[in-house]
């Protein structure tokens, strides 16, 4: 079983990056890989509560993130400094996350067999 980390750096709308990252994560987990998601920079906006994308031809990622647990994806990580820089706190997020200080991120990625950046 490989350790695979999917990095999300892009906001939820305006591109298909968020959807592509989530699809990659779900495929990886469906193949029983030890899959984690890491949210950095504007990627953190994907996890914000209260999104109303109904006017867009895109789905609300909030509902899909709720399914991560069903797919066996337990590690959802988020950069603490990037969250605070955006004026957000944990209670603004749709799912529970593990906060990593920026200096811990290198260590996490160092443990992975594969890293995909979206």
């Amino acid at each position: 079983m490989s350790k695979i980390c999917i990095i999300n750096t892009r906001p939820p709308y305006g591109s298909t990056a968020a959807k592509d990252a989530l699809d990659t994560a779900l495929v990886s987990a469906s193949y029983d890989q030890d899959t984690s998601l890491l949210f950095l920079g504007d990627g953190i906006y994907q996890l914000m509560k209260g999104q109303q994308p109904e006017a867009l031809p895109q789905k609300n990622p909030g509902a899909m993130f709720q399914a991560l647990e069903m797919y066996g994806i337990e590690n959802v990580l988020l950069c603490l400094e990037d969250m605070l820089d955006r004026g957000l706190q944990e209670s603004d997020l749709t799912i529970p996350v593990q906060l990593l200080a920026r200096k811990e991120i290198g260590g996490w990625l160092g443990q992975q067999d594969r890293v995909f950046n979206f």
Partner: protein
């Protein structure tokens, strides 16, 4: 080979020619006729318009692959529809099995049980009959 041809082959492979399979339901490739209504399907047999789904359409989709829906099928179909409502996703096999275990109990949340109801690829077949999109992360 057209859809009907594939179905015939499917029935033969499974040793179950089912005399009463309503192959006239599929007069044209990728159109399902239910109560005089032509319901368009995509090339893999999933509904093109998810709003076309109703229990009669489900019966017709199931008949087309030689399945008669029983209450055991229906509780699974209802559960997978709930999954879609909740998560906005058609589940792949693993979360499908897990969801059935959570909602219908561990006895039913097993691949072997679901394979008996929906042969070959339960997550895909159940999604198709339940009128959901193809599970995009299910191969």
């Amino acid at each position: 080979m057209g859809h009907t041809g594939r179905l015939l082959r499917f029935c033969r492979i499974n040793g179950n020619p089912r005399k009463n399979v309503k192959l006239d339901l599929i007069k044209l490739m990728n159109i399902l006729n239910v109560n005089e209504q032509a319901i368009p399907l995509d090339k893999e047999g999933y509904l093109k318009n998810l709003n076309d789904w109703n229990p009669e359409v489900a019966e017709a989709l199931a008949q087309a692959v030689g399945i008669s829906l029983t209450p055991a099928h229906w509780e699974v179909l209802n559960a997978i529809r709930d999954f879609y409502q909740t998560f906005d996703l058609s589940p792949s096999q693993r979360p499908f099995v897990k969801h059935i275990a959570n909602t219908l109990g561990a006895e039913k949340g097993r691949s072997i049980y679901l394979l008996k109801l929906f042969p070959e690829s339960p997550a895909k077949l159940a999604a198709r009959i339940a009128g959901l999109p193809r599970p995009s992360n299910c191969f």
